[in-house]
Amino acid sequence: KKMTNDNLNKLLVFCVLFCAQKTSIVHGAQALETKVALLLHAEPENPKCFAEGMSDLTCFWEEDEERAGSADQYSFIYTYQNENSSECSITALPAAGGKRLYFCRLSQTQLFVPLDIRVFRDDLLIHNRSLFIEAVFLLDPPANLTLTSTGMQGQLKASWLPPSLKYMGDSMMYEVSYAMAGSHIGKVEEVQASSELILRGLQSGTKYKVRIRVKLDGISYSGYWSAWTDPVLMETMPGDLDPLIVSLSLIISLVLTLLSLLVLMSHRRFLLKKIWPIIPTPESKFQGLFKVYGGDFQEWLGHSTGGLWLRPTYFYSEEFPVPLEVLSEVSLGPALPSSALPPKASEALGEEEDEDKKLKRVDPALMEGWRKTPQEHWTMDQLRAIHQHPAPWTQSSLLESHDAYVTLNAQNHSVEEPLDDILEETLPLQVLFASGRTSSESRSDLGSVQQSSGSGRLSSQSSFEYPNHTWPSKGPGYTYMAVADSGVSMDYSPMSSNKIDDIGKGVIYTNEYKNEIPAHRRPIGTPIHFAF
């Protein structure tokens, strides 16, 4: 560093006196300094000579300051083959480390011919050397080293400007040194007679430091390696997904997917339960209703022993089971053996059982005696029979055509019908179980469904109307049958002579009308409840 500074200062002073352009002087001085240092290292012979261009030669040698003489003490004699000798003027410059450099520069040279150099100090030969000038080239480093991207991964393109030497462009070889920025370990690539090179195999997204030097190839011209250019930095393109990483990631994700699938499969039931909960079905409550009887509730009722007490409306409303109350009139006339309930109803009635029900067993005999009565009116005998056997009987014959009834049926087709389509005599009176559909209208309230305004109609009424079983007072001899919950309550007015007359007139107060309770009706007997 001290040598550099001293030399620079002295060169500057020296050149200011003799040269015009300062900038070129500074650069020239720097270049000279570099080359001298290079040759001192690379060339063992003295004097060390180098050619920078086509027609020049610079020779120098080094001496210790202590033993060094002045420049005029030395003489530099050079002789081309078959020519006379010539002398070169010597310049002395101080150097670092207590040394002194002596320079000689020739501005006109001959190549391809041996040159004989002799250095004398005070007529004493101190150096002797024979060389070919075309073999001692020491060029300036290439200029304008630039790095560009090739557009491909891990590549950089280095381009430079070759030294502008005529005749020698195709004899130049370059050495490109590249390393990752910050690293000292780099690679070197050689290229001949070219001004660009593509560096391959670089890491993506990394900054690289590249430098280059030049030398003649040695066939026609040869010399020493030039100094390295200043390093140029450039970052390579960011990396794409490394194929190895991509494949590894795929494998790992595949393995994870398989594992998760295994876990899911092993817990699928639990998960299915959570995601797709099972829709509750009433099958468990109605054993065999759907599987055996295909939903035919009537049949199922006839065959099952348990569960009859469950009203279908249980599933549709939250109403509590309402007891079916059948009131029988004791004071009715003789039994009416001929009258019979419809077989279905009788069977159903006969088989109803529940802990909640307060059903009185229908006298089978009586039930059998009942049959569909085409007549519209009760006969006196029938009425008497009813009276004597206070059995819960739904009086289809009483109700006849206009009576509304609700049939419990899985299909529930006929449910709609009873409301308005009740025909006359042929309509059997079936056990009335209000289905949710038919009595849905009546669900909200106490369920009084008024079928018609006509008399003799059965109005569906639930016992809610009479919360405390405060049935409207009815005269003795009245038979009541209140079908609970369906809202169908049948109130059979007892057949008194008065009523018979009424019946005969076609007015049968067989049911309770809302707000139309005949005053003469009197509750007789204990209500019989049907509870489903």
């Binding site: 001959q110 391809f112 011919v113 005749y167 026609s220």
Partner: protein, 189 residues
């Protein structure tokens, strides 16, 4: 280029071509000028290898006598002042001198290895002539005694020196002529 090298190799392998060349009929010149510097570079390297191989030859490999060789020195400044024809004259006269000298050497050596090397160099000289011809450089009328060459010749007395001069001649003047031939200047970038 490879095709050019193949052409020259073909020339070397067929002596009839050389007979024609000596007779001055002219060999069929290639269609394209041979401008690849690697062609001459190969000749230079083979001359250098021959020089290196025969440097340690004892007693000059048994070669005696003196040989007239051209001067090889090139002063670029001076060289550039000469036109192509003048340059070509120098080159071709020099090449013929070397051809003669190597012919004389070939006859005096007895070792087969040396003979092979000398033969190779002689072939290269002939091939160079073809290369020059491809560059539309006119053949020299073979001078019986190159009066022009007095200024540009000297004498050597050993085989190694002859070969050394031969190498320098190829590296210098011949190369300069070839690389700057006008026919090649059109092809160069």
């Amino acid at each position: 280029s490879k095709s050019e090298l193949d052409f020259i190799t073909h020339l070397i392998e067929k002596p009839s071509y050389w007979l024609e060349w000596w007779a001055g009929r002219g060999l069929p010149s290639p269609v394209r000028p041979i401008c690849d510097p690697r062609v001459l570079d190969r000749f230079i390297m083979e001359a250098r290898d021959t020089e290196t191989a025969l440097r340690g030859c004892k007693a000059g490999c048994g070669v005696t006598g003196t040989f007239v060789v051209p001067l090889t020195n090139v002063d670029f400044v001076v060289w550039e002042t000469k036109d192509t024809e003048e340059q070509a004259l120098e080159v071709q006269s020099g090449m013929s001198l070397f051809g003669q000298a190597l012919g004389a050497v070939r006859e005096s050596v007895s070792r087969v290895a040396v003979q092979i090397l000398i033969d190779n160099n002689k072939s290269n000289i002939h091939s160079l002539g073809q290369v020059l011809r491809s560059l539309h450089i006119q053949d020299l009328p073979l001078p019986p005694a190159p009066a022009v060459g007095d200024l540009v010749t000297r004498k050597v007395s050993s085989l190694s020196e002859l070969l050394h001069v031969h190498t320098n001649f190829l590296r210098g003047k011949v190369r300069l002529l070839l690389t700057n031939a006008p026919a090649c200047q059109q092809n160069s970038t």
